[in-house]
Symmetry: D2
Subunit: 372 residues, 4 copies
């Protein structure tokens, strides 16, 4: 719940304003001895970099991370890992006229209501650019999780109201998602959505969407009841992202109008699948026939894939003229110049993955002391 | 993220197993000098008590709270407030046969996967009964918030797939919600839902639903960016409740298929409404013409009502025979006797309010040091 | 730094005012599966009980703990362990005249300066009675530590300026310490100190002292650099006790006037002593020829005994007439009736042990995730 | 208690290894609107810079801080303030031979016992150089405290067994302390100590000492009972510094052999001194005739100066040949080349001040919500 730190044992603190000297993060609590290269981090940063997609801002940032501490001879030391990413392509002047104006749908006014003033350039710290620190931190969490056989994939399952076919669709492919700039795992749909986004760009309007996420290989037993439940942690993680308006797990909102007999996933033992290695003695290695639960029961992972969806509202920065208020409390017309994403959802994909990784890494460490 | 504690400054720690000697909580960080009577707490506990509604278990608990500390001469001392609620009506024997069986949809197996064993009686700590501690703590938070003019109302906006007319409906009434045992704020709909629930009870099945919540009078400026956003905190709070499967704020999932021009709430100054008393100098007292944002922008409260919805899955305990597994990993038929709610949603109403109050009280205290 | 909670993973929260209904604690984070009986807790409580010694108050409290949660069938569940101890022998009226008077050397006025008012009866929460919760919690930590071969002993090494012969003295004996009411591990010296205390009681004055503590069997590697160092945690733990005025580790203050060549403990490998089981591969099992370091280097345990001393000021409640101030700011004569310890040091012995145990249990759990 | 973060509301996280790319810190929770210039930070860093004194290493570091975030137009934003200080003068090769050797009195082996390996260059993160991050953070805390009229002074009150005359000595002067490289506030004594240190340097040996600290202008009411007491926080802060072996408050260890009648400070009201502005209504503005308590009662500030002393052991790095062990567990002769302080105490002066400032800033913010 702390403002700028997330996690208890494997924690990340991010810092930086969009147009300040640098963004960055400190990852604390990463176990010593983890092989880690700068490339592990820069690879993930590239996936969220602006300027690569049709839906995106034209701001270009090299986003080259610098590792300041915590890693020596390509291995973690068990000490805080500090990473900075310089802000290079700042057209701060573009924002001069926003110093005393409150953009609709943005945090300009709430920020002032809270802190008394703000860095108005590009949204300051409320900018989506803050997430570079999260992605850098999440990249380290991913390396740790990979050692435990855990993988995470997120993708846009809907953009601008256009749903993307699901994982069972024959044309669904995570490889494809990495190829196209929308991170949409379905080639044909990606093309259609691109068109839709171009159309919105022409209108001067913007789009939202939904990101689906799946984490596989998560062992049973992660999640700290009663407040640190796996779903509670993921919900906090996702809703801490700007522009998110909701989250649902497994069968989610739809489950609320279903019946218990239909919702309960049936436990089963598949004799051909090897038992979970981390289970206590005498506890059988259950699996479930279905996954309405989204991979968690009572807030604790079941061993089934963790599955959830996150709703993103449309980007509030639009080129259409809007009426708003200034610091004097006077009405004024607002025409946003600057460089804005039409839809933030594609670039949010690696961010959703990063936050998921951070949650799982933390819960993994927390689980070490659960029993004698 | 801590397992059993929620909140940073105004925090609650709950304890207790469903069939242990007592449930309870410690509220820490409540400012000294707050007038507080036992009645403030027992009133809220009565609202979630079992045995009062058609949808409910027949277990009866007096749920009389005992105040052990932190209050002297009906005023808070600034010290931890410990409250216990004895478990009196425990038919623990009803649960003997569940010692080695994993109930579908419950946390029985995940609990064992995590801790190696469990208190099988009534779900132990994973029981919904754990929420009495939350409601007791939330009652104190409510008293604190009332001093700041903040009020919170939750209600079932849908049960068993049957939607309840919204606040704008002429027959919508919070008074009515307190009168009927379903806490449904619409008399006619309440009757219809009761019938539906009776029907499900006869089938031996169960229902889920959606709870809506509104917090009014929340001053602008609450919520700690970037990880302690108001929505992140509320999401963590709600998803830490058993059986919840999702949350959405303001226009929520629907916003994801909308356009920016439609979603942005327009700021405005109503000259007849008095300015916010807590604003810094020179910051004008904005309001918004609409509330798609659900009362928060950038995770900070806007002064508009906080609005969100929480999805609850159907109660997993059903009387229909289910096939499941036992501790030996063998299939077995499960017929749940015990006493179970057909739908937990009505009893969750005060719990949702309590968690909302706890979040707001914490963020209120956290906001005290935001600026010089 | 939290007011009423100590520890990160193995944490204790205490509650209760001296003359309120009950004192108690919640221990959270204790691993599941630890054998634990009520007797483990009541045994430790007896060691700090008032009314047993010459140095002590005549207040008598049964101090029978009640276990409310977290333990089932004599084994921990991994859930919060709540313990309450009722306050039974409260002569609250004795304190009526202290409602508006500030006792010298006590926290009466500072408490009001902070919270605006206070529970004046017996010091309220600032009473030494608060430590029953700590002792109860520490008893659980001791059981956990015993499973890892760790033992803790504290004893008065000086009372009223009279030093107690050290561990190397042939008459030094922990058994003796449990027999005499002063917990002094030296029979002859205990007798002499008793006389001194009786003399002070007759004078209406009071005494302080020093408590030494040794923890043996602590594995190397405990302590979280840089702020959660073992000594930092122990220092916080000890100075959080009322009446403590200082702490020193190993050669302590004396080391400050020594030379490096004399202070550095020489590492050595004793071939006959078995290697530490918890060391990483390739790290040799060092011991040290001396222990000026007090069992820690760089804030991390060395495997040598943890050794430190804590200074306690004389009990501020004396029967001699004192001049003080009342709530009106007027001078007044104060003659304390009530029941007061002449010297708190003997009763603080189990408290020092308890806090040491809590620190070590927490650091033990924290160390689980230090390396891959 | 977290490894690398200190403080709850006003918190600092430090990072960096002695010979890695950079050291630094993140200060989180600093209120928005605080005037802050880079010069405020670099001024303090200069006071602890190596290479300036007779007692010091010959390593020279520019120690120029870079502000990466949290400050805009010379005013804090309420967001995390990230500061980095590049490591420029690293003779890492000097340390090559220490890769597999455990230096006596250092944390080399304990670090390996904990993390499995270490950055051997200059002690890595266990180096005293880590404190640059603390000093940078403390500089910000000092600016905040100055706004509340709080000032902090530390000085060596004893070096190499040579006591420095106290504040009441006519030649005691904080100005003088800033002039001489030992930070000793007494010119004549400073000269004598310099000679002593030269002598030790010639011997190839090292010295310890005691630092006294006084914080003036601290309002009554700071300190969070029962675990977050002012003295507990200061003790944790000081013992988290390398080489510290003890702390005492007010009359400290000496109080343990005194009597209550002599130790209790007498409360009094000085009519000519203006009342404390932060007191609750109806609470009189006490002062005390003496300050045995060291400015705190029950762990809460009394308004009197906060006074304590910290013991530092001699620097463990000496030029005398020492016998030690290597990673193979074999005995070897160790002759330390490198650059080492003969006595760390002078350079620790600004560090003690910084940690004191961090504690007070945090407790100041925590006190905001103490009462309605």
């Amino acid at each position: 719940m702390s403002g700028n730190t997330f996690g208890t044992l494997f924690s990340v603190t991010t810092f930086g304003e969009s147009h300040g000297p640098a963004m960055g993060c400190i990852v604390d609590g990463c176990p010593a001895g983890l092989p880690l290269k700068l490339e592990d981090i820069s690879r993930e940063l590239k996936r969220r970099r602006p300027g690569v997609g049709e839906a995106s801002t034209t701001r270009t940032e090299a986003d080259e991370p610098e590792l300041l501490s915590g890693v020596f001879e390509d291995k973690t030391l068990g000490t805080p890992i500090a990473i900075i990413i310089r802000n290079t392509d700042q057209c701060s002047k573009d924002y001069d006229e926003l110093r005393d104006v409150y953009r609709p749908g943005h945090a300009d006014w709430t920020w002032e209501a809270k802190f008394g003033w703000r860095d108005h350039r590009g949204g300051g710290r409320s900018s989506g650019r803050e997430t570079v620190g999260r992605v850098a931190a999440g990249a380290i969490a991913k390396v740790l999780l990979a050692q435990h056989g855990i993988t995470i994939h997120a993708w846009p399952s809907s953009i601008a109201g256009m749903p993307v076919p699901g994982m069972k669709d024959p044309d669904f492919s995570f490889e494809e998602a990495e190829k196209n700039t929308l991170h949409v795992p379905h080639k044909e749909r990606a093309e259609q959505i691109k068109e839709k986004i171009e159309q919105l760009r022409d209108e001067g309007d913007s789009a939202g969407g939904v990101i689906s996420c799946i984490a596989e290989g998560v062992p049973p037993g992660l999640g700290e009841p009663v407040f640190g439940k796996l779903d509670a942690c993921l919900a906090a993680a996702m809703l801490s992202l700007g522009a998110t308006k909701g989250i649902e797990f497994g069968s989610g909102f739809a489950s609320s109008s279903s019946k218990g007999a239909n919702q309960n996933d049936k436990p089963v033992i598949y004799r051909k699948i090897e038992p979970y290695p981390n289970l206590p003695p005498d506890v059988p290695s259950l699996r479930y026939r279905s996954n309405n639960a989204g991979g968690m029961l009572g807030g604790i992972s079941t061993g089934m894939p963790i599955e959830f969806k996150v709703a993103f509202k449309p980007v509030p920065s639009i080129r259409k003229t809007q009426t708003t208020l200034d610091r004097e409390g006077l009405l004024c017309d607002l025409i946003l110049e600057g460089r804005h994403d039409v839809c933030i959802v594609p670039r949010a994909v690696p961010v959703v993955e990063a936050m998921t990784a951070l949650v799982l890494a933390d819960l993994l460490l927390l689980s070490l002391g659960n029993r004698l």
